[in-house]
Every structure is written in structure tokens, then in C-alpha cells.
Symmetry: C2
Subunit: 335 residues, 2 copies
């Protein structure tokens, strides 16, 4: 059950180069030069072009940028810096190095499921490679220096995307939020700070980067997550005991609607996918895999839909295309 609740685990490391101004102060030219330097430092025997590729935002259109954002491969900050921002991406999209985001370098590794260690290991590997060839701004007392003081220290933000439909309906989110902030953790919507919660999917992350090691931070975060999982699991058990058929009904008819709808808005679609995911997690739905649902949660976003179709669409056309995509994927069970 625990595994099922967590969609992805993510570790992000913020790094900056000595003697270069932070990105927002760099001209486009200076920024592009930095991109070349990072590329040079990264591509090597270990990290080969072909397995990774560089996406220069100034060479992409708005639609592609938004789609990368929807897939969490780049941040909103990057889009605003698109004249100098770039990202080095692994072929499977699980590893990325954002260049000229808020910081010069943001290494980000995303693994499916509850795999914070794996994500950290991958991020570390990239960090080591870059550190070999670049001169990082590092202070013996404070650690890595960053554009925003909240990242100084380890420069690490670790997080999981977690599916909490019952805690969510239970009005316990507010409560959890408060408790988490006291523990130096934050619970937020899927797109980070200030983003709306959709489909009962939350992001739980560490807030403190100073005064503890990466391993301590991960251990603290995991302790908190494990507690939340226990809460959610208990809430489910109680609910299922009292509302067995209602819960089965919600899962089954959500799947029925996803299989049959002609129009689907983004928010309804995420809500239905959340209900289906819950159905799978609780063993009610057996004909669709969690992987299919999770892939769809990313793929049904408006820009990603338009990118897939290959052109700009009206709102209604997007809703039509979304319903078609979902139908095809769900009926094919994700093939």
C-alpha cells in the first residue's frame, strides 16, 4: 500500500559557480556562455550525448516550454529566463540539469515510487561530475551558496508526489500542513509553492537546507512521509468499512466515465484519474495499472496534449483530444 500512494520521488540540488553573477543578472549572451560551460563539464565518458541531450529554451516555442513545465522537467522560472535558460535531459526524462534557473545549476532526479535514495544517488552522481570541472560557490561554514537564502547549505530539496484522497476529504490537510511546517517540511500542490492541489496529489518536501546533512534531511523527510502514509491508510480503512459500496462505486464509475466521455476538462480528468488510482491502490480496479494512470496525470495537461497533436487547439478541441487520449490509453491499459 505504502508504495502505491507515492507516485514519484524527487531530489533537486542547487549549485552556483564562483565569480559569476546569479542568472537574473546575466545577459542572454553571458547566460548562453554558461550553458556551454555546463555542457562541457557534463558530457563525458560517464554522461554521453545520445543518452542525454540539451534543450535550449531560446530554440523552442512557447507550447513546448509549457509542456516541459507540465511534465515538471523545467520550472516556471526557466520559462521566464528562456532567452538564456537550457536543460540537459536524460532520454527517459528522469534526470535533468536546469541551467540558468534561479540558480546557475539545478540538478533534478525523479524516480517512480518511493525511491528517495535512488533519486539522491543519481543527483549526486551528476553533481560529482560537474564539480570535477566547475568551480562551485561553496562556503566552509554555510555550504553551497544559492540565489535564495532558503536553499543555502545542502542546496537540496527532496520531495515525493503522494496521492492522499482520504486525508484530503478528511479536512486533515490544514492540520498536517501546520504540523509539517513545524518539522521543517511543507505540503503543497503538484507544481510546488502556491500551486493548486489537483486530483488529491500533494508534494511533500523538506524546507530546511542548513545545519544538517543530506542524509539527515532524507531521513527526517521519510519519517514524516511514513506517518502521513499511516494516516491516509487508516482513513481509508475506516472509510472502506463504513462506505464500501460508495467507494467502489466512485472508482468504477470514474473509470466508466474516462472510458466513455467525449469531452474532458483538465480538472475533471485529474479528479477521475485520482479516483481510479485510488481504486487500483485499494484493489477495486484491476484492469488498469498505476503506471498508466500516473503517465496520464502528466500527459493530460493542456500544452502536452497540444504538443502531442502538433498544433495549437481551442479549449474545446483540447477537451476532445484529452478524452480521446485517455480512452485510448485506458482501453489499451497503457500500451
Amino acid at each position: 500500500m505504502a508504495e502505491g500512494l507515492i507516485m514519484t520521488s524527487r531530489v533537486r540540488l542547487a549549485r552556483n559557480l564562483k565569480r559569476i553573477m546569479f542568472p537574473h543578472k546575466l545577459s542572454s549572451e553571458q547566460g548562453k556562455k554558461l550553458v556551454s560551460e555546463v555542457e562541457e563539464a557534463f558530457y563525458s565518458d560517464v554522461f554521453r550525448e545520445g543518452d542525454y541531450s540539451t534543450l535550449k529554451l531560446w530554440q523552442t516555442d512557447k507550447l513546448s516550454q509549457t509542456s516541459y513545465f507540465e511534465k515538471r522537467l523545467i520550472s516556471n522560472n526557466m520559462i521566464n529566463n528562456s532567452s538564456k535558460g537550457a536543460v540537459i535531459l536524460s532520454n527517459d526524462d528522469s534526470e535533468s540539469i536546469m541551467i540558468n534557473e534561479e540558480d546557475h545549476i539545478r540538478i533534478q532526479c525523479i524516480k517512480t515510487g518511493y525511491n528517495l535514495e535512488d533519486a539522491f544517488r543519481s543527483a549526486n552522481r551528476i553533481d560529482d561530475q560537474l564539480e570535477k570541472n566547475l568551480d562551485f560557490a561553496f562556503d566552509e561554514k554555510y555550504g553551497y551558496l544559492t540565489a535564495c537564502p532558503t536553499n543555502v547549505g545542502t542546496g537540496m530539496r527532496a520531495s515525493v508526489m503522494i496521492h492522499l484522497p482520504f486525508i484530503a476529504t478528511d479536512n486533515k490537510v490544514e492540520e498536517s500542513l501546520y504540523a509539517l511546517s513545524k518539522l521543517g517540511m511543507a505540503i503543497r500542490g503538484i507544481y510546488g509553492e502556491g500551486s493548486k492541489v489537483t486530483g488529491s496529489i500533494y508534494q511533500i518536501s523538506n524546507q530546511i537546507t542548513l545545519g544538517m546533512t543530506e542524509q539527515e534531511t532524507l531521513a527526517n523527510l521519510k519519517a514524516v512521509i511514513n506517518k502521513i502514509i499511516i494516516h491516509e491508510t487508516r482513513a481509508r480503512e475506516v472509510a472502506y468499512k463504513n462506505y464500501k459500496y460508495e467507494i467502489e462505486d466512485r472508482a468504477a464509475r470514474s473509470l466508466g466515465i474516462l472510458k466513455s466521455a467525449v469531452l474532458l476538462t483538465s480538472s475533471e480528468c485529474l479528479k477521475l484519474l485520482s479516483d481510479v488510482r485510488l481504486g487500483i491502490e485499494m484493489g477495486i480496479i484491476k484492469t488498469v495499472s498505476i503506471g498508466t494512470v500516473d503517465a496520464l496525470i502528466m500527459d493530460v495537461q493542456p500544452a502536452t496534449i497540444q504538443k502531442q497533436v502538433g498544433k495549437n487547439l481551442t479549449k474545446e478541441e483540447i477537451n476532445l483530444a484529452r478524452a480521446k487520449l485517455v480512452k485510448r490509453k485506458i482501453r489499451n491499459k497503457g500500451r
Copy 2:
């Protein structure tokens, strides 16, 4: 299209015997005696036991009575008169003779589709047979005498059950109601006077029984129905032009929900069946027949569900059984 909108056509003839008090004044014993007399008059070379059977309400339980009511085979009045009420029923349920309803005899014939003439012919045939052997209260000036003066004359009420989802959403029902009453017609819910409209299904019937022949009444009723059909059809065409995908979406997801739900309340079920029926009528849904939907509209009623299961159920159990029944019938396409 016109054929599709009309679910059933019904003709009912009210008859009373001379020199016998109206049913509400009869003792149980007197009532039962009347039942025997009607049976004797009816069963013959033309109407044979085996093709028809008599259902004596005092020999049935409450659940069966309600189920017969839900299927429109007996009236609410009959249930209140169950100590002396009976009904002679054809095996296919399309012809019935209620005994000791408001009147001594109510012949009722229901045909599928737009078949008022057929229904009238069948009712007439039964009427002729009964009149051969019974002494009907008939006045040269007024025609057939009935317990309620609104039925005096032909004693005939002809009606259709018609599916009008667009006139219904169009707020034109009020308008039609007013126009119809001026024409001596009434538009009502599926269970007659005072009954709620469910699933956009209406009953349109003549109100006047005095001063015109049966044929004139039928002709008038048909003229009104044809106009309503034109209104509904136009409303659909306009709506489909403007909201093609929304209409397709509603039909498709309603079918999706019927195929997948675990719990279905009666009113939601009728609403969904109405949407699916509309989808079939408009050529959007091709995998389910109108016959299947119409049969379900009758079969999903609470008492009928319980009768099928064979015992009294809780509300939740009924909703569960209803969802199961619908799923089976819709997936089997009504076999």
C-alpha cells in the same frame, strides 16, 4: 425519429354495470362476486385462460402489488381496493382488465411505439366480448356512465408515453401544458395525474370524453402529439448544431456510468437511461437498443427490483441490485 420518441401508446375504456353500486361502495364480498362475473363474461373462445390469467389482489403481497403498479398494469386506486380488486392480464402484459378500480371495469391496452389505433382495436375487442355478456350502464344521451363525471361519454382515455428531453430542458413544458389544456389534452408525469416527471418521460392524454366519438378523440390527440414531436425534433436539431460534442458526451458518459456503476438510485438511473435513449434516438449510441432501455425504465423501479430478487431489500441493497441489473441488461444488449 417520430416513432423513436414515443415509448408506448395506451387506450383505456371505463365501463360499469347497471344496478350495481360503484366499487368504493361495494363490500369485499360484493366486489369479489363482481370479479367472478367479469371473469365469466370474459373467458371464452376468443379470450382463453392460458393466454390470460386473473390476478386477485387479495391473494398477493404488497411488494407484488407495487411492482404491478410500477409496470402500470394496475393503478394506485386498485391497491387501495385490494380486498376486492382484481386484474385479468394477457401473458405479454399488453392487455388488462382492472376490476373494481374507480369503475367496475377498466380495459387497458398498451402497445409499444406510436400505435394508438392498435391499442384502441385491442381494447374494443375486449369491450365487445364483455358487452355481449354484461349489462353496461349506458345512457342514450350521455354514453357510458362512470364513477367520475370526467369519464362519462366514451369512457376512453388514450395516451402516449413520450420522451421529450429537449422540450423539457427548454422550459417549454409549462407552455405546452397550457396550450394542451386548451385543446382538451393533458401532459403529465409517467404515473398520471400529480406524478413527478422522471427521465424526461411524459404522458400526453385526452381529457374530454363527452361530445365526440372515440375516433375523433384519437385524431385530435394524434394531431397534438405530432405537433409536439415537431417541436422536440426542432429543438434537438438546433441543440445538436450548437452543442454537438456536449450532447454526444452526455449520451456516451451516461452509458459509461450505467455500464460501470456499483450503486444506482432510481432517479439517477432514469435520468441516465433517458440520456442514453436520447443518444439512441439521435444515432449517437448504436450498441444498445431502444427496447432494452424502455424495458429497463420499467424494470429498475424499487418494487420490481425486489420482486425479481425475491425478497424485501434495504435501500442500499436495491441500489446495488439495480446497478447489477442494468449492467447485465446493457452489456447483453437486452437479451
